[in-house]
Symmetry: D2
Subunit: 371 residues, 4 copies
């Protein structure tokens, strides 16, 4: 089909009415800067003597600080939920800059549709309160504006992001890549094109500091449109493809090479399960890998429905994935809990004595498999 | 590394004490059979005149019935959460047998770790109430028993399932496959080995009736261990790989070829987002595909945290993915709501006048891409 | 103040535009009739072999059936949340008619604003979906229409209900009354005025069958306006007053006289706590009262915030209030779970061999305190 | 009955084993001091530019600051959930000391079982993590230790608190009292007995600064045992009784005398509904009282079950109770959100220009009713 080979990057039925769009896309989301807020420390410390979520939050913050003090420990951050659009980007970038994280496993949305999207110069916008009702979503659609609960995005800009991913893929050699390898190319693209067009970028910072990023459901994001485009354009001819099995193999290799690990999980979903599973995968490959030694999860999910996002860390321990001495669930929406937990650990400063693991180099120096 | 090439399929540190295991693995989960319960219809009808979740549930059941009456409409079922282990397998198998579903998009856990696992002759077990506390998860681990909230699985049996997936991959020609193509081979494996070793199997029934199954995070399940094994064994040599971009391309082709679609979503997660996104993917490929005409989601997730699982169907409409005339969220745990909704539609019988779309054949007759 | 003595029973600023009101108040809520649905039994039985909420629900239904088989056991139903407006009235009336409940402890809203209100001839109405957004609440206010999530009430009619409560109080002798004594007068009022002006009424049926009803926060409902009116009219002169301590004393007397008790709790709140506390109150009065032997709670509340509504029945057992052999939490919205649980017990029929305790007579035959 | 007249204030069946009790009751809950944390302000300000709960929290904090700037506005704090046992007592005491609140409407548990209890010299204790499972509640009961999720209380000490309330009632003249009048006597009792036996007390501070406290379900708390005791001892003879209608009348009088009001609601329940209702009660008494001008609610409850605790402030506006210009729901557990919201307003300092309303004096100067 002819259409399949020239991509359509403009929402077909939308009015592209600049005035109307300005009405909606006026006020930008600004990312919180925890490095400027040492006042977080005494608040979190006081919470440790209270009850309910505040006590849990302090314990989680303390466990994260322990992870950073434990020099053997590799720290893996997992991300699910719309975190970057919600203003948490700089928290994560500061974690990378301060050697507070060694690998990231995320939904594609956070990394591509939101972080890489902002690195291309685009922004997220504050939705006015009445839009949350859903009653104006038809009008938003007419103006090609996408809504994430109380936040707005220009679909036109998102289509450009989709398109850039396709161009990057198109410029790569044929072969099977992990999402990590693709995302490294995204970082390189930014680096070769004058750096990110915004103050901070996870994809860029991780590229510069050799922090690998995995998106185990990589086709389920803006990059998926790029992958579809290249499938459509090249059919069965040689092309770069996303080899999801390689993702799992690579992350497992990190566990094998750096036995002690700690998890800081924001939300649940595929990133949480995928990362917990590498303990079992290492064992399947014949390595006696210990369970994740430290584990924190921030979530609003409810344990009682049996979904993975809400399964407790104790439950993960029955599967041999997570140790239970230093584990803590924090039941809170992430925009409240994450700045407090990471801010606490940042200002406690244990990361200053820590060296980054530079796991991207580890993976590149030793190619996959039999070698 | 030598270890990487002979797989270790036994949990290393577990005691394999048959008596202790019998204590835990005594009582099996039994799957509910909605076909025997016509009494569901008047209960759901009465709920339509009440308030809160009961009214929502009746409206969702009615929308599902409308989908089945609308002969143009292709019905896509998405699955997230531990549904098969929870006793919902037969509901889904009966949907396949009755032409009530044309494609399934699921987490890998439901399809491989749970349905295919049962087809290999294994079972899920009822956990006693005190195990839910998490305080006995260390003991469970010692006996290689995995816990999903109030349900237990033998890890030894799960490792056999992992191993079988690896063997199936190993017997396939080298090349890039979608998860759908792999799962079709899982169905063929069952067919060539005497059928499922249990009364009902989604993988098998879907194979026999040409209902494609997609797992867009396919490495995040029991099959992922098979994928890792083959990565370890063959390294950069030719091998079957999972091409996640092909999943997205194939599901989008179905939307292009069968414009009218309805979604029955159990839980959210990647299956929900991935399936909603094919509307945009079709447009990116230059096709004027309409939004999903019908959409139902059963979930316990809370809209206020911005996670995808909980984003409303109205919100999806701002993205141009879901139409809002026939959409309904049902806030309920799935084991309560799914039997009532599907049972209602089953006994209303609109499916009797419906023909299955046989979408597996559609995808196989026309190869991907430019041809 | 002059105003304080002539009551104003019309919402002051509302437009009383009949046409506009008809637009909103068109479709009535209809109460589900579980007596006509024996098909509930096999569905609930099948749920007992599944996982998550379905298994919990079946166990709760079984415990309720056990309570009814246990002839020593007095059954107390507690009600919180908008249950009558949601269509659950007939379920409760059928429980009273079938000797399936011996006392009711409720929020005032369920009993006065909703049940007594319907007995006066008024109805609840289905709100259209967009009203749930809250964006039209200003318009509703202009038309004196009150909203409960997806349900509407005429404020004019509710003010009549307020006024009737005031008239009933005004006709009573001066003195301190329990809410039970007041509510018995409400039943008598209906009886002497031609019975309820609708098919079923909890207040009326409980009056006829000697089932006492307590509202431990009695001033927090439509009756509260009647109490305020009489305070305003009579000041420090003799008048009927609501003596809330007498409520607690009376309910405790029932526990003392009928030691074995079971609780069916819909929602939490004051009714739950108040009823659990009578075990301790009996002990404070020197009686060796056993804990509540059976306890079921249906709730959507989350245990992790420490609120009373969500505190588990195990936690109540640390307080010596609830035994833990036959206790079950069911995490579900009540309109889904209550018809299934009560419908199951109704059609199992154990109530047929049971005699009502006629606790209203017990309380009236022996006056409070020292006599 | 003889027993009814000598109270039994010791849990009958408990072992009173000091060593075992020490094991559980070792580590006390400490109340957070927001006055020492000016660092809260920039964190909350940054949250205002993010999304989801953080943005809502900042808006709520800003609305509370507006209330304090608006000198006409009377500020009413409502409390539900176990807040004092959770470490929030000092936050509330500092609000009273700083003229940041004019009246409190609460569950009895917060005021009597927890604040007055601590003022008698008793403490709340940190429960170890495994106790949260509920599996040790039988053991706790044997040692007369009560559990609130992750917090422990000595039942022996709580019985002393029950007994003191009975003694205070016994020393009062016969007559009908509002809960506010009773709680004022509790404050006087502390004042006349050397002040509270702990650093801070809500009951005591409110007594000293003429801030009235209402418990609209007053018999549903430790004081209820005192009320039952006096019912048992005096039967139909004259005695002090709790007149719940008077509570509603008095709070309504405050609304009539101080038309502009703002609500800071922690949790929902009876305190929320009761306080919202005074707008209607004032109108019923013939006064044209405006809706509550400002309204904030912190809750984890879910709007979709129709319970009062979760009903939105917009919904309350359909009832004519709450204005919608300055209203904000914050979906968070209170121990996280309340220190941030009150801490923000405290350090913004608008309260410094504000005078306390001394509403206790207002109520005492003008007796109820016709005068």
């Amino acid at each position: 089909m002819a259409q399949d080979q020239t991509l359509n990057t403009t929402p077909m039925k939308a009015k592209h009415d600049a005035d109307a769009r300005k009405k909606f896309l006026g006020k930008t989301i600004e990312h919180i800067d925890i490095t400027k807020n040492p006042g977080i420390v005494p608040v979190v410390e006081a919470m440790g003597h209270m009850a309910f979520s505040s006590r849990d939050l302090q314990r989680a913050a303390d466990i994260y600080d322990r992870m950073l003090k434990d020099k053997e420990c590799g720290v893996i951050l997992t991300l699910a939920g719309s975190l970057i659009s919600a203003g948490l980007k700089k928290v994560i970038v500061d974690m990378i800059r301060s050697n507070m994280v060694d690998a990231i496993v995320s939904t594609g949305a956070n990394i591509v549709d939101q972080d890489f999207f902002e690195a291309l110069g685009f922004r997220h916008y504050v939705a006015s309160d009445e839009l949350k009702s859903g009653l104006f979503d038809g009008e938003l659609r007419e103006h090609a504006i996408d809504r994430i609960y109380d936040t707005l995005i220009s679909e036109d800009e998102l289509r450009i992001c989709d398109e850039v991913t396709g161009k990057i893929f198109d410029g790569m050699e044929s072969g099977a890549y992990s999402s990590r390898e693709f995302l490294r190319e995204f970082g390189r693209y930014l680096d070769e094109n004058g750096g990110p067009k915004c103050a901070d970028s996870i994809v860029y910072e991780a590229f510069k500091r050799d922090v690998p990023i995995f998106c185990p459901a990589f086709s389920d994001c803006s990059a998926g449109f790029g992958l579809v485009a290249i499938q459509a354009a090249r059919g069965d001819s040689p092309k770069p493809t996303w080899d999801g099995g390689k993702d799992f193999y690579e992350l497992t290799q990190l566990k094998i090479k750096n036995k002690e690990t700690g998890l800081l999980m924001i939300g649940g979903g595929v990133p949480k399960n995928f990362t917990q599973d590498i303990v079992v995968a290492a064992e399947v490959l014949g390595h006696d890998a210990p369970m994740h030694k430290y584990a924190i999860q921030i979530t609003v999910a409810d344990v009682r429905d049996g979904a993975l996002s809400s399964s407790t860390l104790k439950e993960a321990s029955s599967w041999g994935k997570v140790d239970t001495v230093f584990e803590q669930m924090v039941y809170s929406e992430a925009t409240l809990a994450m700045p407090l937990i990471v801010g606490y650990a940042y200002h406690k400063g244990s990361w200053k004595a820590r060296t980054g693991k530079k796991w991207s180099q580890v993976l590149e120096q030793q190619p996959a498999g039999v070698a």
